[in-house]
Every structure is written in C-alpha cells, then in structure tokens.
C-alpha cells in the first residue's frame, strides 16, 4: 500500500464539480430515456388481444426514467448549493486513470494475445510503473498469477478463455 501514498495533495484543483456531473449524468439519462421510449413506441407500446405488447412495459419505464432525470436536473439547477464540492480533483483523477487506462489496454490486448499473456503484461506493467515495485518481484508475481489462472481455469475447471499465439505454440 505504501507505494501509492506519496504526498498529500488537498489543494489539487478540481477537474469537475459534483453538481455539473450530476446534471450531465441526468442529461445523458434523459437522452437515453428518450431513445428507449422512441424504440419501444416503434416496437409497440399499446395493447392487443393478448395483453400489453412487447414495448408497453419498457415504454412506461422510459417515461419514469425521463421524469426522474428531469426532476434531478431541475433540482440541481434550482439548488443554491455552492459550486465548491469537487467531483474529482486532478491528482485523484490521475490515479483513477492510472488504473483505468491500463485496464482498457488490457482488454484490447486480450483479444489478440489471449487472456493469460495480457494478464501477465497488465500485472507486471502495473506493478513496475504504477507501484514502483522491483522489476524481478513484479515479473515473478505476474508470471505466477498468470500460470495459476491458466491451470485453474484451463485445466482444472474447463472454463475456456480467449487464447493467443503463445498458447497455440504450447499446444492449447
């Protein structure tokens, strides 16, 4: 744990305020509700001789979602709350990105290299570059973890994962 707590940075500038994000999320949800309501209206939101049609239930749910989102937007806009509450500060956002970005790269890689090689790269890379842990420890940990996962899922439990060129080379 110690590696992640370098200096306290309470004065790091906020990247966004909770209120703006709150409103933005409500707007996105409102748009989604509109889209889904339209689609369900197209599917058929009325009744026929067998009862409500496929779009009936979700259509009214979209209306509830839209209503709740509008209420949220109005409430936030009318609130006289000060704009000081930070949604996320810059240093915190950096730390979140430190794990989110490698995760996205990992999911991309996993399609070409297979799960086990991609996990090895993710764990070793993350430990070395984010955790500043000695390279040999990181590589060893990543190797052990990936092999254990391979043995557990591929061999012991027969859960098939995406595999890449390395596994093909080994005959799996």
């Amino acid at each position: 744990m110690a590696q992640l707590q370098d200096e306290p940075a309470a004065d790091s500038p906020p990247v966004a305020h909770t209120r703006s994000i709150d409103i933005a999320v409500s707007v996105v949800l409102l748009a989604l509700a509109g889209l889904l309501a339209f689609d369900n209206w197209r599917t058929g939101m009325g009744w026929d001789e067998t009862g409500p049609k496929a779009g009936y239930f979700p259509f009214y749910l979209s209306l509830i979602l839209a209503g709740a989102s509008i209420y949220g937007i109005v409430k936030e806009l009318r609130a006289r709350r000060q704009l000081t509450e930070a949604f996320v500060r810059r240093d915190a956002l950096m730390r979140v990105m430190q794990v989110l970005a490698p995760t996205i790269v990992f999911v991309l890689l996993l399609q070409w290299l297979g799960l086990y090689v991609a996990s090895f790269l993710l764990i070793a890379g993350f430990m070395i570059f984010v955790g500043h842990i000695a390279a040999w420890k990181s590589v060893l940990t990543a190797l052990i973890f990936s092999v254990v996962m391979f043995v557990t899922f591929e061999i012991a439990f027969d859960v098939i994962m995406p595999k890449g060129p390395l596994e093909a080379l080994l005959g799996y």
Binding site: L4, L29, L61, Y71, G72, Q111, L122, M127, I133, S138
Partner: protein, 499 residues
Amino acid sequence: MEAFELLLYGFGVLLTWKTLALMMLGLVLGIFVGVLPGLGGPNGVAILLPLTFTMDPTSAIVMLSCIYWGALFGGAITSILFNIPGEAWSVATTFDGYPMAQQGKAAEALTAAFTSSFIGSLVAVLLITFLAPGIASFALRFGPPEFFSVYLLTFCSFVGLGREDKHKTLISMSLGLLLAGVGMDTVSGQLRMTFGWSELFRGINFLVAVIGLFGISEILLTMEERLALRGHAAAISLRVVLRVWMEMPRYWLTLVRSSIIGCWLGITPGGAIAASFMGYNLAKRFAKDKESFGKGRIEGVFAPETAAHASGTSALLPMLALGIPGSGTAAILLGGLMVWGLNPGPLLFVEHKNFVWGLIASMYLGNVVGLVLVLSTVPIFASVLRVPFAAIAPMIVVSCAIGAFAIQNAMFDVWLMLLFGVVGYVFKKIGIPLAPFTLALVLGNRAEDSFRLSMIGSGGDLRVFWSNSLVGSITTLALILLFWPLISAGWSRLRGKTT
C-alpha cells in the same frame, strides 16, 4: 419436525469429500476477498462466480455461499485492525472495534466480532430452516398478480425506505428494469431495444453488470481514495477466545435484540446497513454508561456484528422462498442460480429438494467451520493487507475480466463490464444507489412477465391487483411505501398546523 428431517437429509447431500473440500476452498477465498481493500461480499461472490460454472448446482452454491460467509468474516478483520469497513454494514463495527485494537485488545475485538457474526447468522439460518418451507408452500398458491404485487412491494420499499434521494433511487431502478428488458421479449419473442445490434440480442447479462459495477468501480474508487493502511497486529489465542466467550452471556440481551432487528430488516430489502446501525444504537440507548461507547467497548462490537450478519443471512430467506433477493449479494446468488438453470422461488423447494436443503445445511456447516477457520488464521489473513495494492489491483481486474468473459464466452461482455465499471464509479460518486439497480436488473423480466400474465388473465383490467384480500393488501402496502415520504411529510405538516 419435518424441517429437521429435511435438514438431516441436507447434511447427507453435503457430506461428500468433494463438497467439503469446496466448502473449505470457498471459505478461504471468501476471507481473502473480504480482507482485500475494495472488495467484499457481493464483489467477491460476483468475481469468483465463474469458478463454479462447471460444477453441479449444489456444489456450486455451497461454494458460493461459503465465499459469502468467508467474506463476511473477513470484513470484520479490516474493520477492526485497519479501521476500514469492507462493507457499509461494517461501519458500525469500527466505532468500538478499532479503539479496542488501539488499546491492544485486537484479539478480543476480533473474537467478539466473529462470534457475534456466528450467532447472528445462526439465528437467521434457524429462521430460514423453519420458516422458508412454510412460506414457499404458501407461495405455491400465488398466481401472477400475487407475484407482481410482491415484486412491486420490493421495488416500492426501496424508494420509500431508502436513505438516498428518492429520484436517484427511481433513476437507478428504472434504468435497471429497462436494461433487463433489452433483447428478446420473453412473452412475444420480439426483439426490443437492440437497435439491430446483434451483440444485444442476448440481452444485458446481470452478472456482467454486477462485476463491472462492484468489481471494477471499487478498484477505481480505491485508487482514487489512496487508502493508507496502517493496521494493528493480531493473533488470537485460545485463552482470549475462551475469555470472550465466558463474558458473552452477560450481553445476551444485546445479542437477542440485534438478532431480531437483523432478521426483520434482512427480510425486507436493503436492510443490512440499517440493521447494523440500529443494533449499535439500541445497545447504546439501553446501556447504563452510554459514554463508554465509541471508546472500545466490547458490546459495541457484539451489537452491530450480530445484527448485520443476521440480516445478511436472512436476506436469503425471501430469495429462496419467493425468488426475491433481500440484498445485493442475495441478488448475485440468485443470478447464479439462473445460470445453472434453477428457477428460484417456491417451486424450488418441491423440484430441487437436494439443492435447497444442501444449501441450508451448508449454511450451518459453513458458519461453524468458518468460525474455527477464521479464529485460527487471523494473522495470515491480516498479513494479506500488507501486500501492495499495486499488485492486487491488476489481479482483481484480471479476475473481473475472466468472470465477465466466462458467463457467455463473449468478448462484448468484457467491454460491457468496463463500461459498467465507469458507470458504477460515477453513480457512486453522485449518490445514485446501486442496490436498486442490481435488484431491478435481476428481477426485471420476472416482474414484467408476471405483470403481463396478470393482464392477459384479467383482460387488461388493473383491478386484478385488488382482486382478493392477499394481493390487494400487498399492492396497497406497496403504494403506501412508494408514497411514504409524501405521506409522512404531509402528516407532519398537518400536525404542525394543529399545534
């Protein structure tokens, strides 16, 4: 005594070497995920679920429920030694547990926590054993309108009783119900909300969403908060255990009170957090010296732990008997049951006797074995926390990806999981509760089906939900709960005018 015979039968199902080994494995894994920062009951169960896909349902559920017990025990370790509640309902445990650890009484606090969790769960399991079959056989007479009214009651009680902003609960719930409807409509077979995108034809898998919402988003939050762990060392000796146990009978009233609160709140959805605080506050209110609470009083550990675990366990009662989970974790277990093709609800007790009684028996056994295991291995698990988070975070990410992929062998699901991870992160930060979403996503299709079947049966007449006294009173209660905030506000305004 029929329940007793069936329970013995359940133990018979359970007592094979393979099942017992899986139980131990589940407990160890559970304690492990419970101790890890940023994980806990529902997350651990969600992430480890794929391990069980190739097992038979009984072994799988036994292992999963043991992961859950383990995670509950593990959560107490972090609350007491590190002042970090693994779950919202362990928050109350830190009030007195951490001060005890600071005073060098960590072993006492841990023993108290483990033992009271054990007692809380035991009371709840007894309740399940004797009440669940009765409720299930009563519910066998339910038709679609009755089921819909019970679903409605579940959803409405979230809106009416939750502590979050009402419109945010409503957003979370309607979004969950909508996403549950994506894909093939189960009644007419028509595709909806897919926009012609073939990946969406299967629908949005509940477990994929859960792994993202609970697993990935927790990692993001933990990274952001930059948890600094400074813990207290602890090893529990037999002498300490016996001393705490000798002291325990003195607090019998607290234990009984907390168990009752826990069981009651556990059966109504979303209750475990409220239960732990209520248990703590009641113990404080009835104590002679209230000031000693919060400064390391053992009763302050007994009370919330008993209540939290009684409620966490009794949340499984409505899941088994009615198919309605009483907590997030129960919802995930329910999702698991569906993966194995089991339909939770009253019929489960008739059609899958092996499974149900094996599960109930495993609750007894898992609890006892878990208690012994956790008491004897605390130092090992506490040392897990000294492993750098930079090593644990990517491993959890990998486990989440494995979980999301394994459910339907679809790469699309891994991307979906990532999306849900970000959504969960944002929702948690702006206070949109995730529990109603989870519940809505898992129950959405059943709620819709029961509604439409009721409508088909009644020819579109909504009065079917008041057609007999049972369904009528449940529906009315649901509506009262839904509008409870308005009702209580109006009531207090009225009273304000008259006085």
